[in-house]
Symmetry: C2
Subunit: 106 residues, 2 copies
Protein backbone atom coordinates (compact mmCIF):
# COMPACT_ATOMS: atom_id res chain seq x y z
CA UNK A 1 0.00 0.00 0.00
CA UNK A 2 3.12 2.16 0.02
CA UNK A 3 2.65 2.51 -3.72
CA UNK A 4 -0.84 3.93 -3.29
CA UNK A 5 0.46 6.63 -0.98
CA UNK A 6 3.12 7.62 -3.49
CA UNK A 7 0.64 7.65 -6.39
CA UNK A 8 -1.79 9.80 -4.42
CA UNK A 9 0.86 12.34 -3.43
CA UNK A 10 2.14 12.41 -6.96
CA UNK A 11 -1.38 12.99 -8.29
CA UNK A 12 -1.81 15.99 -6.02
CA UNK A 13 1.50 17.55 -7.01
CA UNK A 14 0.14 19.11 -10.20
CA UNK A 15 -2.02 22.26 -9.99
CA UNK A 16 -4.25 21.20 -12.88
CA UNK A 17 -4.98 17.92 -11.14
CA UNK A 18 -5.77 19.66 -7.88
CA UNK A 19 -8.17 21.89 -9.80
CA UNK A 20 -9.79 18.82 -11.33
CA UNK A 21 -10.26 17.37 -7.86
CA UNK A 22 -11.96 20.56 -6.76
CA UNK A 23 -14.22 20.58 -9.80
CA UNK A 24 -15.21 16.96 -9.24
CA UNK A 25 -15.98 17.75 -5.63
CA UNK A 26 -18.98 19.77 -6.78
CA UNK A 27 -20.19 17.34 -9.41
CA UNK A 28 -19.22 14.35 -11.54
CA UNK A 29 -17.97 15.39 -14.96
CA UNK A 30 -17.01 13.92 -18.33
CA UNK A 31 -13.65 14.60 -19.93
CA UNK A 32 -15.31 17.00 -22.36
CA UNK A 33 -16.86 18.99 -19.51
CA UNK A 34 -13.57 19.13 -17.66
CA UNK A 35 -11.66 20.15 -20.76
CA UNK A 36 -13.88 23.22 -21.09
CA UNK A 37 -12.44 24.45 -17.81
CA UNK A 38 -8.81 24.33 -18.91
CA UNK A 39 -6.62 25.72 -21.62
CA UNK A 40 -5.38 22.39 -22.89
CA UNK A 41 -6.43 19.52 -25.13
CA UNK A 42 -8.72 16.69 -24.14
CA UNK A 43 -5.78 14.31 -24.43
CA UNK A 44 -3.88 16.28 -21.80
CA UNK A 45 -6.86 16.27 -19.47
CA UNK A 46 -7.24 12.54 -20.06
CA UNK A 47 -3.64 12.01 -18.95
CA UNK A 48 -4.29 13.94 -15.76
CA UNK A 49 -7.36 11.83 -15.11
CA UNK A 50 -5.28 8.68 -15.55
CA UNK A 51 -2.81 9.92 -12.95
CA UNK A 52 -5.65 10.78 -10.59
CA UNK A 53 -7.12 7.32 -11.14
CA UNK A 54 -3.74 5.69 -10.47
CA UNK A 55 -3.64 7.64 -7.25
CA UNK A 56 -7.02 6.26 -6.26
CA UNK A 57 -8.52 9.75 -6.09
CA UNK A 58 -11.16 9.25 -8.77
CA UNK A 59 -13.19 6.46 -10.33
CA UNK A 60 -14.71 6.30 -13.78
CA UNK A 61 -18.17 5.07 -14.63
CA UNK A 62 -19.02 4.28 -18.23
CA UNK A 63 -22.39 5.68 -19.26
CA UNK A 64 -23.01 4.93 -22.89
CA UNK A 65 -20.31 6.62 -24.90
CA UNK A 66 -19.55 8.95 -22.05
CA UNK A 67 -17.41 8.31 -19.03
CA UNK A 68 -18.32 10.00 -15.84
CA UNK A 69 -15.36 10.91 -13.65
CA UNK A 70 -16.16 10.84 -9.98
CA UNK A 71 -14.22 11.75 -6.88
CA UNK A 72 -13.42 8.73 -4.73
CA UNK A 73 -14.45 9.60 -1.15
CA UNK A 74 -11.80 7.40 0.43
CA UNK A 75 -9.10 8.38 -2.02
CA UNK A 76 -7.40 10.84 0.28
CA UNK A 77 -7.09 8.18 2.95
CA UNK A 78 -3.42 7.27 2.42
CA UNK A 79 -2.49 10.95 2.24
CA UNK A 80 -4.30 11.89 5.42
CA UNK A 81 -2.87 8.81 7.09
CA UNK A 82 0.59 10.05 6.25
CA UNK A 83 -0.16 13.45 7.75
CA UNK A 84 -1.52 11.87 10.91
CA UNK A 85 1.98 10.55 11.52
CA UNK A 86 3.11 13.99 12.68
CA UNK A 87 0.95 14.30 15.71
CA UNK A 88 3.45 16.26 17.72
CA UNK A 89 3.91 18.76 14.93
CA UNK A 90 0.58 19.11 13.26
CA UNK A 91 -1.87 18.53 16.04
CA UNK A 92 -2.52 22.23 16.39
CA UNK A 93 -3.13 22.61 12.70
CA UNK A 94 -5.44 19.64 12.59
CA UNK A 95 -7.29 20.91 15.60
CA UNK A 96 -7.83 24.22 13.90
CA UNK A 97 -9.20 22.36 10.92
CA UNK A 98 -11.39 20.30 13.21
CA UNK A 99 -12.77 23.40 14.86
CA UNK A 100 -13.48 25.03 11.52
CA UNK A 101 -15.45 21.98 10.50
CA UNK A 102 -17.38 21.89 13.75
CA UNK A 103 -18.21 25.54 13.39
CA UNK A 104 -19.68 24.93 9.97
CA UNK A 105 -21.70 21.91 10.99
CA UNK A 106 -23.54 23.91 13.62
Amino acid sequence: MREQTQNAFRALADPTRRDIVQLLASQDMTIAQLTEQFDMTRAAVKKHLTVLSDGGLITVEARGRERLNRLEPNGMGPVLDWFSYFDQFWDDRLNNLKEAIERKSK
Copy 2:
Protein backbone atom coordinates in the same frame (compact mmCIF):
# COMPACT_ATOMS: atom_id res chain seq x y z
CA MET B 1 0.46 32.63 -1.78
CA ARG B 2 -0.78 30.28 -4.50
CA GLU B 3 2.87 29.62 -5.26
CA GLN B 4 3.55 28.46 -1.73
CA THR B 5 0.79 25.87 -1.97
CA GLN B 6 2.19 24.53 -5.20
CA ASN B 7 5.74 24.42 -3.84
CA ALA B 8 4.58 22.57 -0.73
CA PHE B 9 2.61 19.97 -2.68
CA ARG B 10 5.50 19.56 -5.04
CA ALA B 11 7.89 19.06 -2.14
CA LEU B 12 5.73 16.28 -0.73
CA ALA B 13 5.44 14.45 -4.03
CA ASP B 14 8.81 12.74 -3.70
CA PRO B 15 9.16 9.74 -1.34
CA THR B 16 12.69 10.68 -0.29
CA ARG B 17 11.50 14.12 0.71
CA ARG B 18 8.60 12.70 2.70
CA ASP B 19 11.10 10.45 4.47
CA ILE B 20 13.26 13.48 5.22
CA VAL B 21 10.25 15.23 6.71
CA GLN B 22 9.60 12.23 8.94
CA LEU B 23 13.23 12.10 10.03
CA LEU B 24 13.26 15.80 10.86
CA ALA B 25 10.08 15.35 12.85
CA SER B 26 12.04 13.39 15.43
CA GLN B 27 15.10 15.66 15.50
CA ASP B 28 16.94 18.39 13.64
CA MET B 29 19.67 17.02 11.41
CA THR B 30 22.60 18.14 9.27
CA ILE B 31 22.91 17.16 5.64
CA ALA B 32 25.61 14.67 6.56
CA GLN B 33 23.35 13.00 9.10
CA LEU B 34 20.46 12.85 6.66
CA THR B 35 22.67 11.47 3.90
CA GLU B 36 23.57 8.51 6.13
CA GLN B 37 19.92 7.48 5.97
CA PHE B 38 19.72 7.32 2.18
CA ASP B 39 21.44 5.59 -0.68
CA MET B 40 22.41 8.72 -2.55
CA THR B 41 25.04 11.44 -2.55
CA ARG B 42 25.07 14.47 -0.32
CA ALA B 43 24.46 16.66 -3.35
CA ALA B 44 21.24 14.81 -4.07
CA VAL B 45 20.06 15.19 -0.48
CA LYS B 46 20.96 18.86 -0.64
CA LYS B 47 18.71 19.27 -3.68
CA HIS B 48 15.83 17.66 -1.84
CA LEU B 49 16.40 19.99 1.09
CA THR B 50 16.29 22.97 -1.25
CA VAL B 51 12.93 21.80 -2.60
CA LEU B 52 11.64 21.30 0.93
CA SER B 53 12.86 24.77 1.84
CA ASP B 54 11.19 26.27 -1.24
CA GLY B 55 8.01 24.59 -0.10
CA GLY B 56 8.32 26.22 3.30
CA LEU B 57 8.47 22.86 5.03
CA ILE B 58 11.90 23.28 6.60
CA THR B 59 14.23 26.03 7.74
CA VAL B 60 18.00 25.96 8.01
CA GLU B 61 20.03 27.30 10.89
CA ALA B 62 23.76 27.85 10.42
CA ARG B 63 25.79 26.53 13.33
CA GLY B 64 29.48 27.00 12.69
CA ARG B 65 30.38 25.01 9.62
CA GLU B 66 27.25 22.90 10.02
CA ARG B 67 23.73 23.67 8.96
CA LEU B 68 20.92 22.31 11.01
CA ASN B 69 17.82 21.45 9.03
CA ARG B 70 14.64 21.85 11.00
CA LEU B 71 11.00 21.11 10.31
CA GLU B 72 8.90 24.26 10.01
CA PRO B 73 5.84 23.75 12.25
CA ASN B 74 3.57 25.91 10.12
CA GLY B 75 4.90 24.59 6.84
CA MET B 76 2.01 22.23 6.19
CA GLY B 77 -0.44 25.07 6.58
CA PRO B 78 -1.13 25.73 2.89
CA VAL B 79 -1.50 22.02 2.24
CA LEU B 80 -3.94 21.44 5.08
CA ASP B 81 -5.80 24.57 4.03
CA TRP B 82 -6.25 23.08 0.61
CA PHE B 83 -7.63 19.88 2.07
CA SER B 84 -10.05 21.78 4.24
CA TYR B 85 -11.72 22.97 1.05
CA PHE B 86 -13.39 19.60 0.63
CA ASP B 87 -15.58 19.67 3.66
CA GLN B 88 -18.42 17.73 2.13
CA PHE B 89 -16.11 14.98 0.96
CA TRP B 90 -13.42 14.67 3.55
CA ASP B 91 -15.19 15.64 6.72
CA ASP B 92 -15.53 12.04 7.76
CA ARG B 93 -11.86 11.38 7.17
CA LEU B 94 -10.80 14.50 9.00
CA ASN B 95 -13.13 13.69 11.84
CA ASN B 96 -11.57 10.27 12.17
CA LEU B 97 -8.18 11.92 12.33
CA LYS B 98 -9.51 14.39 14.87
CA GLU B 99 -10.86 11.60 17.03
CA ALA B 100 -7.61 9.70 16.89
CA ILE B 101 -5.81 12.78 18.10
CA GLU B 102 -8.30 13.35 20.88
CA ARG B 103 -7.99 9.76 21.97
CA LYS B 104 -4.25 10.15 22.29
CA SER B 105 -4.42 13.39 24.21
CA LYS B 106 -6.51 11.80 26.96
